[in-house]
Symmetry: C2
Subunit: 202 residues, 2 copies
Amino acid sequence: MEENLPSLENLIDKFQSLPGIGRKTAQRLAFRVLDFSDEKAYAFADAVIQAKRNIRECSCCFNLSENELCGICSDKNRDREYICVVEDVKSLISLEKVREYHGLYHVLHGVLSPRDGITPDKLHIRELVYRVQDPDNKVEEVIIATSPTVEGDTTALYISKLLKPYNVKITRLAYGIPVGGDLEFADEGTLFRAFKGRTELE
Amino acid sequence: MEENLPSLENLIDKFQSLPGIGRKTAQRLAFRVLDFSDEKAYAFADAVIQAKRNIRECSCCFNLSENELCGICSDKNRDREYICVVEDVKSLISLEKVREYHGLYHVLHGVLSPRDGITPDKLHIRELVYRVQDPDNKVEEVIIATSPTVEGDTTALYISKLLKPYNVKITRLAYGIPVGGDLEFADEGTLFRAFKGRTELE
């Protein structure tokens, strides 16, 4: 029946182009938008445009920002000697939620995957090296927090080799059995990592 | 971290106001929009505004339409003697998918629920009576297809009583065990309906 309603069809298509939204859900969302007041519908459309227009990448760490520097880079209270290297902004947000880490970040915007054409020059790796090189930054430790996947590990290894010449400590997040997890349900990769990363009890 | 990104925060809020979209999903959708090209983001925003601006209710059956009459009401090939009464446009779309029914519709835009303040005057019931009354329409049968819920049944009963004085056949969709369903999993209400609606084998 949507063939008679090109505007509705178009809106459903737009919703469907978002990740994890199928035809049925897109239809449900589009119907909800039709129920909106005019004001609310315009506010929704405007939110899309404003977000797209105002948000850019931090010129230092490539986190999302509405200014030249992001909230973290411009925060005077952060420990500037630490740089945590993450794949994407979503990882950064997850790590920030822990409230354990108070250093800076560096967002690569991807991981190395030559098969998909993602070579080092496609990621913000060169800028990371510049940050570490610059004596003004006084970087002491680079914590690599890429995912424990083939690509994430490759990226971590590549970066650690690149940074070796500079006098900084390079670490990687610990991977193992998740807290509260049951051994029974841990996959072999995780168990292998857990064995390799075992620590001595004191 | 979104506190430093009011535009992003606003977009996430807007997505979260849609049905079935939680915080995590809203965040994922907002990030996807940020990855859009400028052109695609504007097209998305425009789709919301155009849908809201162009789509209205059919003046005859209250289905969604971009014109005075909806695609079904203006289709000369439909059987105009039948009116199928549905709660909402979603029900209409589901019924249209079956391609079994070729009559017209009447969308109530809700079901009677005095508890929630939905009284007959809040629904398009009066307009249905006018349609049935009008000898030009030559209505022969009104098929009531409201949901088999307390509210749906009440609405069906209310409408059937209202239409009794006019010389039309009033029917209700059959409810029972779904095709391919297992008795074991059918709830009591469905089984009760299945018993009540049993038909003789010939």
